[in-house]
Assembly symmetry: C2
Homo-oligomer: 352 residues x 2
């Protein structure tokens, strides 16, 4: 017998999955966050924020910052602070109108009091934004040290992703009060934007911490170049100099697929799936899936399941009712939650 050097994947879908619709009637929902006690927050891109009870009933939250709801922009992510029970803090990302007539990805913190946002403070705004309606990025992650990561797309202006004097195509990192953390990588580089943590991104619309507290992104590439990246401080992820994708015209992008000084993706899809929403599972309801990375597909209406470290796609979760899976999260209950943009519904996946 020949020997097969390739191990059986460590993870397997050992038990059947149950997908239930928890709430519907949302119009282009973008993100779901989880409050202590079981309520959830759901953003709609047009600018509405909802508080959703476990039975699916919802109340509109007032006091949301004004958003520029044009193209792919609007109200984007919502994240509930880890210290919410004490502070009531939530974080919102959104496209903010600018005096130029364009819009920039912005980050705000506010206190949620029942169904009212109190004292919203904008703690970051990409400047200048752009009149283009594409590639806002917009995912927020609260790091273990309490700083905030925000992903920003290149707004359709490709070279800007390599330009450290602009925040396009970057992950930025700020403190909750908007200050630049003293250990940001480009703080002392003259002319660069001090909030930048990593750059060379195209349009990252999924972000999550793994069990070691490391930041991972999924990002829309061009055709055949959707990526999962492990984010290192100060690193360059190569767009648009290197990419596994090609322009939708079929034209080649940049210089190839690798270059010294530019990071390789941990995983890429060719063909593309149009990824949005990234969750990394802890020890939850899915035995054998600890550390698995879940990525929603806007194109095929499924959730891709990658092995820990994104070495390999191990399966997909079919989500037959959905139209554009926009957000994927592990809830505090250990279930997988996701939003379907096109039919405006919130779903919960459990096993067994």
């Amino acid at each position: 017998m020949l020997s097969l050097p390739l191990a059986r994947p460590a993870l397997a879908q050992s038990t059947p999955l149950r997908i239930e619709q928890v709430a519907d009637g949302f119009r282009v929902p973008w993100s779901v966050g989880f409050l202590p006690g079981g309520d959830m927050l759901v953003t709609e891109r047009a600018g509405r924020l909802w508080r959703v009870a476990p039975d699916g009933k919802r109340q509109r939250i007032t006091g949301v910052p004004e958003v520029a709801a044009r193209g792919q922009g609007g109200l984007l992510d919502v994240v509930v602070a880890r210290d919410f029970s004490r502070t009531g803090a939530i974080f919102l990302s959104y496209a903010k109108a600018q005096a130029s007539g364009g819009a920039g990805t912005a980050l705000a913190v506010a206190r949620l009091d029942g169904t009212k946002l109190v004292n919203p403070r904008r703690i970051f705004e990409m400047m200048p934004g752009s009149s283009g309606g594409r590639h806002f990025g917009g995912r927020i992650v609260e790091a273990r040290d309490g700083t905030l990561f925000l992903t920003i797309g290149e707004r359709g202006d490709r070279p800007s992703a390599q330009d450290l004097t602009r925040e396009n195509g970057s992950v930025i990192r700020v403190a909750r009060d908007g200050r630049i953390p003293p250990d940001n990588p480009f703080l002392n580089s003259p002319g660069t934007r001090p909030a930048i943590w990593s750059y060379g991104h195209r349009n990252p619309q999924g972000a999550a911490l793994d069990g070691q507290g490391r930041l991972w992104l999924c990002e829309h590439g061009a055709q055949g170049g959707d990526e999962v990246n492990l984010i290192e401080k100060g690193a360059n992820y190569g767009w648009p100099v290197i990419s596994y994708g090609r322009h939708y015209s079929g034209a080649k992008i940049g210089e190839g697929t690798s270059k010294a000084g530019m990071k390789q993706p941990a995983f890429y899809w060719d063909p593309s799936i149009a990824p949005s929403g990234l969750a990394i599972l802890g020890q939850g309801r899915f035995p054998g899936w600890q550390g698995a990375m879940l990525v929603g597909s806007l194109k095929f209406d499924h959730i891709a399941v990658l092995a820990p470290g994104a070495k390999r796609q191990i399966t997909r979760i079919e989500t037959p009712e959905t139209i554009r899976v926009r957000d994927v999260r592990e809830g505090p209950d250990g279930a997988i939650w996701f939003l379907s943009e096109g039919n405006g519904a919130l779903y919960r996946i459990t096993s067994g």
Copy 2:
């Protein structure tokens, strides 16, 4: 700095590739083989075999066995025997009409004398075939020991791929004279087909030996389940009990993605690319690509390039003129040769 545990891919596209059309005017070409001296053989699915000079001029070869050119069937693969200079032997696979009215994948050996096939002998025929027009498989590989592997699809009859009393969905192995080699795995199992070498395949349309003489296949899966497999003697590759794909209706296939006693693919594509044609590069014209696995895509008209061992797709070769890449080979000149089915052309890829 966080550490990135994922290595840069070992292979990179270091030099630009040049793609040139060598011959055209073929009608649904399926396979290309290489004769000593620089001429090539090209099959057309309808049943014609051509001898093609390096300048693209061609002559039709007479004496080809009659083929059942229906659906996906017809004249399929052509392989030039390693001892051709001494024996003139070539191998052909094809759909052969059967008395039942159906057709079965068959394998013949003949002597090529200029533009005449002399003394063609059928050395294998799957029996019974099927009236269905799908999933003939059909790739031939001459193993290092001189035995012949032939891939056979499950003919659209899924359970048959697990049925050792039928050759559907298997790789078979026979000697050049048609005898069953004494070390075939099921030779002594009553009721099983003695030619079977491995089983549980869906529709393998690419096959090649690596540098160690191991057999690799690429096979069409269902949606999201195209596979590359390293073939072990007697092993079960799981179709349709396990698969990473789903039926085109979206329905689940079988029992999941893994099961004891069934092999995992070395690589799979999700989304699918519709693979046909597999070449594994030796030490040729592509520095850094030694051992790389090239797989043609019938769907996206490119050639996927996988790292040795199929651990990862490292890039794709864009083939902008093509319509359905049907066959991919490394030529004796070290170049990559491929056939585009839809526009009936033979191409050659060199570097630099």
